[in-house]
Symmetry: C2
Subunit: 602 residues, 2 copies
């Protein structure tokens, strides 16, 4: 049961917003609407049980971890894998966004004066999570353990105490702290509304796949331990969801306007109604806030792992494979934070607006995972494989239908965002893949090294005047090749004077070279009006390139390297500009070499 705090967080914390998401849509039905939460929850619980059996089988079949991306790519092909990848990325981003926003919802229920600062607090928590994760905290067991058990414990006390009152009062408990009065009904019950309520309520199931993702992290026997944890987690979730629905029904607790000033989360109303607003209330709310924030934190572990897996298949930039300092996949973390912040800002940190986006991503991932399992059993025939295929088939059909219901019922409310994002993500991933394939094809070589024509390159070195920088550059040129051309661009304007390399060429360069009987470098002077230096140089290099089609050309640019960034403002970035220009206009035979001369250094 050691896995429950870590792998149960995501699923169990969903109890804090799933039922509320359903109740929010029932607001227009008034008190009558609250009664509908019971049959809706019953339907959700049935789906949850189906998912339980389905994922139990995934655990057995994938003892090294069977995330949707793995299961879908392996069994349904790359296309389904990409679809699962896009769905999961969105799912993880929303796990972070909804975890944070729902946690802040709990906080502002307890301290209503914070309500105008909802978004700021959400972003503050996001920054906190980012800093903690970029520092790379490893031993977080205890941090997860205490809030999770506190959350489960307090919720069970609330549910137990609540039903005790219900039983004692014959079904008419008196709330200790009365919930806000339900508004009068303004709409009638329709099937369409029930479908929408069910779609929203389904977010209560998000996160149940966590155990199957991380089977390999359990102690031996891993499969058995993982299955036991899954059983406990689903059982607890069933109890929480059923208990919350039942108590709402008996206490007459509905959702409040999620953007209004009098907002009270359902769990806050429930706790206050059952146990009053004493210390127990604040401990409960505190544990809810912590558990939701920690469930957001699970995305910080899962998202970078997912992007790494996708990048390993060349569908995302390879930076996602690299580990930064502290061994973190920091690019993945940064991408997650960017997307999460964008969503929180776009939707004002209001959970209710994020729910439709979340449901689509989660159920698409569920469906692909279950469909993949069906194919898995078809391929790996064996004892009981037909029965297993049927169970996963049931799961696939159930989640698939739910997905369709969610897509249709929630399209206008926000599911369109996800429905649009998924193809966009897939297009990006395909473009990335295409690029890597193209580069691999273009650069692949099945021929051995060509050893013909290995004579040293023609070295061209632009020189301004004689200095230690010039000397270093020239020495390097002479080391590289016997054929060196020094180019001086004379850009002085009429009336200007000044010493140039031409004045010192004979005494400082040629004399020592003649004495040592080395090959003499050539000096070429290019006249240029208007202080243009780079253009004439460029033309000269391109001309030289044309003259000998088989020749490598090395352009040596001696450059000053300063100590402080601001000192760079004082020196023309000619070396860099020249390099860029030759990159743009030159051919593969031209190589630009900066010869650095460090100021203040030996």
């Amino acid at each position: 049961a050691a896995g429950i705090p870590i792998f149960g967080l995501d699923a169990l914390s969903s109890a804090a917003y799933g039922p509320e998401a359903a109740l929010t849509l029932l607001i227009p039905l008034g008190l009558m609407g609250v009664r509908e939460i019971v049959p809706i929850t019953a339907a959700i619980l049935i789906l949850l049980v189906i998912l339980y059996f389905s994922y139990s089988q995934t655990i057995e079949a994938y003892p090294h971890g069977g995330g949707s991306f793995t299961v879908a790519s392996e069994n349904l092909g790359d296309g389904a894998g990409l679809l699962a990848a896009a769905a999961l990325m969105i799912d993880y981003v929303l796990t972070a966004a909804v975890g944070i926003s729902a946690g802040v919802g709990a906080l502002i229920s307890a301290v209503p004066s914070l309500q105008p600062h909802t978004l700021a607090i959400c972003l503050g928590i996001l920054v906190l999570l980012t800093l903690v994760n970029l520092r790379g905290v490893h031993d977080t067991g205890l941090v997860f353990l205490i809030p999770t058990y506190l959350f489960i414990g307090t919720m069970i006390v609330v549910i137990g105490l609540g039903f005790f009152h219900v039983v004692v009062t014959g079904g008419h408990p008196a709330p200790v702290d009365a919930p806000p009065k339900l508004p009068p009904a303004t709409e009638a019950l329709t099937l369409w509304l029930l479908l929408k309520v069910f779609s929203s309520g389904c977010t209560a199931m998000t996160g149940v796949e966590a155990v199957s993702n991380g089977v390999m992290a359990f102690r031996e026997p891993t499969t058995k331990n993982a299955k036991r944890s899954l059983t406990i987690i689903i059982a607890l979730l069933l109890v929480l969801l059923a208990g919350i629905a039942g108590l709402c029904r008996f206490y007459g607790i509905g959702a409040t306007d999620p953007t209004g000033t009098g907002y009270q989360s359902v769990l806050s109303q429930l706790t206050a109604a059952v146990a009053g607003r004493g210390w127990f209330y604040y401990v409960t709310i505190g544990s809810i806030l912590l558990v939701l924030a920690l469930s957001a934190n699970t995305a910080f572990a899962d998202f970078p792992r997912l992007t790494r897996a996708i990048a390993l298949k060349n569908y995302l930039p390879h930076v996602f494979i690299l580990r930064g300092r502290r061994l973190l996949y920091s690019h993945g973390i940064i991408a997650l934070v960017g997307f999460t912040a964008t969503l929180l800002i776009l939707f004002g940190g209001v959970t209710d607006r994020l729910i439709p986006l979340y449901a689509i991503g989660a159920f698409l991932a569920f469906t692909l995972s279950q469909a993949g399992m069906v194919m898995h059993w078809r391929r790996n025939k064996g004892k009981g494989s037909t029965a297993r295929m049927c169970i996963n088939g049931l799961g696939a059909v159930a989640t698939g239908i739910t997905l369709l219901v969610v897509l249709v019922a929630k399209f206008v409310a926000g599911a369109w965002v996800t429905a649009l994002l998924i193809p966009c993500l897939i297009l990006v991933m395909m473009a990335v893949h295409k690029h890597y394939r193209k580069v691999a094809a273009e650069t692949a070589s099945h021929e051995p090294l060509r050893v013909d024509n290995l004579r040293p390159p023609l070295v061209i070195i632009p020189l301004d005047r004689w200095s230690r920088i010039t000397e270093k550059g020239l020495r390097f040129a002479l080391m590289m090749s016997q054929e060196v051309i020094a180019v001086h661009v004379d850009s002085t304007e009429a009336g200007e004077t000044g010493r140039s390399i031409c004045d010192d060429w004979n005494t400082e360069v040629l004399e020592p070279i003649r004495k040592a009987k080395l090959t003499e470098p050539k000096l070429v002077t290019l006249k240029s009006p208007y202080r243009f230096v780079l253009q004439p140089l460029m033309e000269f290099v391109l001309q030289a390139e044309k003259q000998d089609e088989s020749r490598q050309i090395a352009v040596l640019v001696p450059e000053l390297v300063v100590k402080h960034w601001w000192e760079n403002l004082l020196h023309n970035q000619r070396a860099n500009v020249l390099k860029l220009m030759l990159l743009l206009r030159g051919s593969r035979r031209i190589v630009v070499i900066n010869i650095p001369w460090y100021l203040d250094r030996g």
Copy 2:
């Protein structure tokens, strides 16, 4: 007289804000205050006549252009030159800022509903001027000619018609369109107030130095033509200033609150009072707006020329010397626009707040220029040089006293900004100069080229796997040196597989080299966990550097060069990071060479 539109713009346009600047300070005196404009203007006219004689002499002495920076540096030394440089930079920035803000002031007098958008319109005009100047308009003669003559013409019509009415009505003209009633007096006249009024009014003289800056641009005989233009410009300015002051006195026109909603510029009130608000009024206001905007434009030509001159003496970054595309000194233009925009934003585009800053800069430049001329005549003794020295001495004393008056009277109102900026600018220029001196001293070489130890460098080339990119890099390495070490960093994690250079080294590299009987390169494999590639490579290079203290080391980094910027996101920027790391930690003996491999190119 062809020089009047171009060289007279700056001076003549000052009539649009100088008198108003004085009148604004007289508001608290009510109607009584308006009378004081006459003696104040008289004092200003006397100073203007002194400046006329002074600058006539500068024109004669400096037929190639005698700007304050030139005159002060040549005659008073580098210190005074720097002071003049700082004063002039500020003067030009304020020429732009005040020209724009006063032009917008005229516009909102005619169309009061635009008043809330003052700053936005100011910045819009600045953007327009910037675009026009960055495009490099050359033949702008006509653009300057028409508005300037229209401005002079309409103003002379207003003044002539006004005085006709004054004479006809015996000194009590009836305004066609009555100016806003003057508020009752709330203060008494003090000498202190008169000093402040005089200080503000002195901005009416700014820009008279333009002819002396640009003598060389006049037709032969340049000196004579320049002097004639100066005479005409100053005469016109005298007429305008005297006329405006006199008519304000007779029509009882004062300034209005420059930040209030009912703002009406003095020239707008005057034109409306003399000629009514018909088409003539709008033509006049239009010509004022145009002339003021064009006077701001003169700063776009002068400021970059000034910064270039300062940079040529190594007191500003050398980028100011460079000409960009279209032969413009675009860095100077960008600096001017940055400063002007900052001032406009800080002071809300209100002319009245900018006046104190302007006066200081302009009069400091005047004083240094005249003092420089005094030294000039002392050194260049000749016929009449004593008399000339006396005239420039009078100019220096008069402008110097005015400078002190402005500094004291306007210190709190804003002169402190300029008084603080000038030493800051001087400190920056001195720091720049010190840096260039240091670099020159450190890199200067009076020794001839050392030709000892010119053996080719040790080449280290990191290789990942065999590809065309690898082949190109390796070929270049073999061209450069007989001693080549290929380094493979093996960063595969447990369970990962993949072909590396090690698998192909023998067949693809060594075999052809052995066949051709060339020196074999060495292959070194460095084991690295966690996909770190750069650190082990760095350590290896630094180690090699230590082993042979006399050896040059070339690190060759074969790199892929992509076509589109976004493709860079898909490739690890290892080459650049490695270069940066070696720049920071390596010595002068290490050179990093990127061997580019262009995608999609031959």
